[in-house]
Structure formats: structure tokens, C-alpha cells
Symmetry: C2
Subunit: 302 residues, 2 copies
């Protein structure tokens, strides 16, 4: 994408709409994937935290990925989450993606136990890669300690990148600490450091980062793409600033209530589709008063 | 068991041995289950945190439960963990247990997201119970916030017990706070409060609790059973004290290194079976020097 990184660009941490019975709404999900590409996303990081991946069964996850392909999204634009608590299931999901020609995945470490050692996490990732056994595989490590409970330390990241060159190619850093992302870029200049938080896309790109995987890109992918495309264009500074202000306004509103249900509700407000208001337990949809409040504020966004 | 609680007694949070290739060693696991019953366990709470359940695939979990039944353990003495991150898979594992006549399960809440609301956890548990759709089901809630990230609050526990009488029948409290367990007993006298920590069995029983589900019972089930049987027998006070001292000595040693691999290593030292030294990543087995140190200290235990 940028000639320097294996994975670069604006990736959407796509949310997942649900039917009234709680099943994923695959037709609406396919529509959403096409919309995200139309809006300028380089790719779709489906089945992540925002996508409620870990609330879906293995079979549901497979069906969700297959629906994106059936919608005509090219395999190389899809980057599903495949990391679960049990290594055999992570391997199975990763091999399923590869069997469809989808070679890039975002991989959580096994996330049930916490306080585990770097040595244990290294063992987990290396076993997964070896058991998957496919040279096409490109792994984006997933650092989201505030949810997973598992920080991925700099020594671990460096060790995995060195042990699996061409396979462990990047990291999604959702901890929100720009300094950590910059430090990884400095240590591993060709490693794809992808920001998990929208306001960090611009400063991370300016520091040599590769792009972003964010929740707000469900709503403002075009503004994120504008920043990505024009980051080095001094004449566009005012437009970049305006794009960033728009992104930040959406992001701020998405944190008015619990973030994932709120992002989904904002997609519902854009599309008029009730399926986007729904969530899988333990996440709950916004209640009526939250919906009304959000709708009023959403209508006033830039 | 005690005439007051649906589930009462000494349950072992059974560990799971592994073959050299990492697969569960079902034959040794069956031996261990028979040994635990011989040692006085009322039942076996297999596939919990100590059992590394969440490091096994759904199919491996099924095979582990089936191996215990094939070993001749009565279904009503087995209490597998069935709670995983995705509700459809929790339902599938719970239904599998029921299909084998195993009606009691220990159920984690969906554990990927944290900071979720009591309302969201209530929705999760009630959906699981309703979708399982089997009146025989007896659920022990699993409160282990230091691992799962999800505390089960008193209002949530009371609400679930009231909404599903005869189904939500107890709680495994692994947070180690005796006052919390006593408070639940006081609020819900017929609810089975089971201590997750061995030193708390005696004071919890004295407070009206139902028993325990502990890791150290892999090693000293007979002493725990002695305490359970004689808790109200003043003439046995010295023997109870000795039993508790023995339990505490094993428990203290099991915390010399990371607990689960250490408990497994202690079973390995008892049985001479290398399979018990092994763990699933991200947990790692003890290294050589830890093994040597542990062996020396293990030999000196009462």
C-alpha cells in the first residue's frame, strides 16, 4: 500500500449487524463491507473487538467472513480476527481464512489467563503459526490489554518479528499510547504499526506508522482515507485538520455511551436498519432514551 | 449431599494431563478422576481454570468430559465448566453435558469484554439457560474476577437465583474473600456457596457454606474431605487442625511458582507421569531448576 509495509492503510474494525433472533445479518454485513470500500477503506478488519467476534461461535465467524467474500470484497482487502482463547481453534479459524485466499489476520493472544509470561505468549503465537503451516500467512498482532488483559511487550513483538519474518508483519495497537507505537516503529521500521484509535492516525503516519484499524471508520472512513492520502501534503493542512475534526467529533459521540453499541447505533441512524442497534450479550443495545439522545446529537455532526 | 444445598461437598478443580504432542491424555485423566473419587471427593469440577479448559477446543472439551464418564465416574459426580466467551458455544457445551446425563455445570460469564454491566451479564446467563432449554440443568455461577475480569455482584447473583430457581443453584467464589461468601450465604441460605480457595473451606462451612472447588484437592482431597465430614465434631478439633495444616502446606507450595503448572507438577511427582508436567500455552511447564526445587520441597510435605 505504501511501498514500505506489508499492511498499510485505513482498515475498518467493522461492526456486525444482528437479526431479531440474534444471528448475524449477513446481507446487511455485506452491504456494509461494500460501503466501507466505497468510502475509501483500504481493507476491512472484520471480526475484531468492535465486530463482537468473540461473541460468535466458530461457525458464525466462518459465515461472516464468507459473506464478505460473497459480497465481492477481494480477499486481500479482508483481515479477520482469528485469535481466540484456545490455540486449536485459533489455528482452525486461521486455516479457514487461508483456505478462502484471505492471508492477513489480526491475532489476539490466548486471552483467558492473564499475567502470563512473554515466554508463554511467544510459545502460543509460535505454535499457532507453526500449526497453521502456511507460508502465505501474514499476522498482525493485536495489543489491546484493556480488553484482553494481555499486553504485548516490545521484547515479545521484536522476538516474534525476528522469528517469523514475512509472517509476523505488524501490530494493531489499541492501547492508545502513541509513544509505544512510535517506539515500535523506531525499532522495527518495516513492521506495520496500525493505530487502534482514530485521533492517532495522523501523528502515527507522521512518525512512520502504517495506518489504522478503528471503530470510527465504520462512520467516517472517507475522512480517515483523506488523511492517509494527504499526510505529507502541506498545502492540504487545513483540509486535513477539518477531516481530523470530523473524525474526532464522531469518535467523541461514540463514547457518549458504551462504545461498541453506540458505534452500531450510529450506523443504524445512517442506514435506518434496526439490525445495527442490536448487540450480542454481554453487550447491550442502547436503551430508548440513549437512542433519542444519540439521534439528536448524530444529526448535528459535521 | 448435606440436605440443604443442591450441590455440596468437596469438588476437585481437576487438572488435565497432556501427551507429548499436546493433546489431552485421556487415559491418565480418567485414572486421576478415579483417584480423586477414591480420595473422597464428592465430585469433580473438571474443565475449570485449573483444568485449562479455555485452552482446549470445543471438541477436546467434549472428549475430556466423555473420558471421565467412560472411566466409570457417575454423571452426578461430574461438574464440568461450560462457560466460554461466545454464548452459542456455551449453550452447545452445556447441552452436550446434559446429553450425557451430566446436569451440573460451573459457568463462567462471557469473558472477553470486561467492564460489562450487570444487566448485560444477566442477559447473557438468562439467554444461555433459555437456549439450553433443559429443566435438569443446575448452574454454579463462576466468580473469578482476577482471571475472567468479570465480577459477579451480589445483586446479579440474587437476581439470577430468583429468576431461575432450581437452575441457578450456587456459586463458585474464587476471589478469596470470605466475607463475600458469607454475605451470599446470609442472603441466600440454600444457595450452594463453594469456596475456590482451600483455606476457606472450614470457615465457609462453619458459616453455612456448601463446600469447595479447589486446585489443591488434586493433591489432598482426603484432608479436605475429612474437614467436610467433621466440621461440627468438637472432639475432632485437633485432627481438623492437622488436616487444614496439611492442606495449607500443599497450597503454599503450589504457589511457589505459577500455580497451575505447579499443581500439575506436584501430581507428576506423585504419579511419576511426565504428562502431568505439561501445560497448554500460554501457560508453561516448570523449568528444570523449578522442577528440582519443587521435588525437594514436595518430598518434605506432611
Amino acid at each position: 500500500m505504501d511501498g514500505k509495509h506489508v499492511v498499510a492503510g485505513v482498515y475498518c474494525a467493522a461492526a456486525t449487524p444482528l437479526q431479531a433472533n440474534g444471528d448475524p445479518d449477513l446481507a446487511l454485513f455485506a452491504d456494509h463491507c461494500r460501503h466501507l470500500i466505497d468510502q475509501g477503506c483500504h481493507g476491512i478488519a472484520l471480526l475484531g473487538t468492535t465486530g463482537e467476534a468473540n461473541s460468535f461461535s466458530q461457525n458464525e465467524r466462518r459465515a461472516i467472513l464468507e459473506s464478505a467474500l460473497a459480497a465481492g470484497i477481494a480477499p486481500d482487502r479482508l483481515m479477520p480476527g482469528t485469535g481466540v482463547a484456545a490455540i486449536p481453534e485459533t489455528v482452525a479459524l486461521t486455516r479457514h481464512a487461508l483456505s478462502l485466499g484471505v492471508t492477513k489476520v489480526v491475532m489476539l493472544p490466548p486471552f483467558y489467563y492473564n499475567g502470563v509470561s512473554d515466554e508463554g505468549l511467544y510459545a502460543a503465537y509460535s505454535q499457532i503459526i507453526e500449526k497453521t503451516g502456511d507460508d502465505r500467512l501474514k499476522v498482525i498482532l493485536y495489543h489491546i490489554p484493556q480488553v484482553s488483559g494481555i499486553p504485548l511487550s516490545m521484547p515479545l513483538v521484536k522476538r516474534l518479528a525476528a522469528a517469523f519474518p514475512g509472517t509476523v508483519v505488524g501490530i494493531k495497537d489499541s492501547a492508545g499510547d502513541l509513544a509505544n507505537m512510535q517506539a515500535i516503529v523506531k525499532e522495527l521500521p518495516h513492521f506495520s504499526v496500525l493505530a487502534g484509535a482514530d485521533p492517532l492516525l495522523l501523528p502515527l503516519l507522521q512518525s512512520g506508522g502504517a495506518g489504522c484499524i478503528t471503530a470510527t471508520s465504520n462512520l467516517v472512513a472517507n475522512s480517515l482515507r483523506f488523511i492517509f492520502d494527504h499526510v505529507w501534503d502541506a498545502e492540504r493542512a487545513a483540509e486535513i485538520e477539518a477531516a481530523q475534526a470530523r473524525i474526532n467529533a464522531y469518535r467523541t459521540l461514540s463514547n457518549a455511551y458504551v462504545q461498541i453499541p453506540t458505534v452500531k447505533a450510529m450506523i443504524a441512524l445512517r442506514t435506518g436498519e434496526e439490525a445495527w442497534f442490536r448487540t450480542r450479550a454481554p453487550l447491550l443495545p442502547l436503551n430508548e432514551s440513549e437512542r433519542a439522545d444519540l439521534a439528536a446529537k448524530f444529526a448535528a455532526l459535521p
